[in-house]
């Protein structure tokens, strides 16, 4: 199980603003470990799914070019206080993480 996702979600007018931080090494497979001299294998998030009350708002497909500890921000319509927002990711090793917040 991956580390929990830090989510900040608030409603401004009729638009929900979401910011998410996902602790993850995001190894591109090109980096060489300075101590061992060995290439660090690819380890990166491939897919992120964001759901509002169980409905998919957006799906992000990522390559190795997304920065370490990925940050992502997005907006959507139709959220009300009390609604749930769930974000989950899956990486290339099959590891996953899911976190959920409630809109205030």
């Amino acid at each position: 199980m991956g580390k929990p996702i830090k989510i900040k979600a608030k409603i401004k007018g009729d638009v929900a603003e979401v910011k998410a931080l996902m602790p993850h090494p995001m190894e591109s497979g090109a980096r060489v470990d300075a101590d061992t001299g060995e290439t660090v294998p690819k380890h990166y998030i491939e897919e992120v799914v964001c759901k509002h009350n169980g409905n998919v708002v957006n799906t992000a497909f990522w390559g190795t070019g997304v920065s370490k500890n990925p940050y992502m921000a997005f907006k959507f319509k139709g959220a009300k206080p009390g609604d749930k927002l769930e974000i989950s990711w899956r990486d290339n090793t099959g590891d996953t993480s899911v976190s959920e917040v409630t809109f205030k």
Binding site: S28, R31, N55, S67
Partner: protein, 148 residues
Amino acid sequence: MKLQRRALIRSLFTAAAVMAVPRWLLASRPDAAFDADNTASVVGDLFEGPITESDQVTLKVPDIAENGAVVPVTVSTALTDVESISVMVENNPTPLVAMFELSPQSVPEISVRIKMGESSKVQTVVKAGGKLYSASKEVKVTIGGCGG
């Protein structure tokens, strides 16, 4: 006879369920495009039809990135019926960085932080109403962010 009917009913239900899923939900990760080592292959794998440069697409990225390991990118658009937003870095070993598929509930504005190995053109392609629009910008990188 009874079994056959049950199987038929089940297959009808499955077909109905598949058809009921909105089109934008069906796509899976375009692995080939993410593995491609040049922008032309990425575009060929991901998109069909002409891509038009558009001032309706806003690509916000710094002119000079001091640290190529963390370059903030925001893509927004005034276009409606947006289906996807993709971000490519031309000179990265694998140019396709991210592709966001948006539901109709989404506001077309996405931010993400990306890695840039060296100075490069950053390009975004927005698919809206079945058509393709793009915006791009040259970004100068002081310290590359792909190796150590």
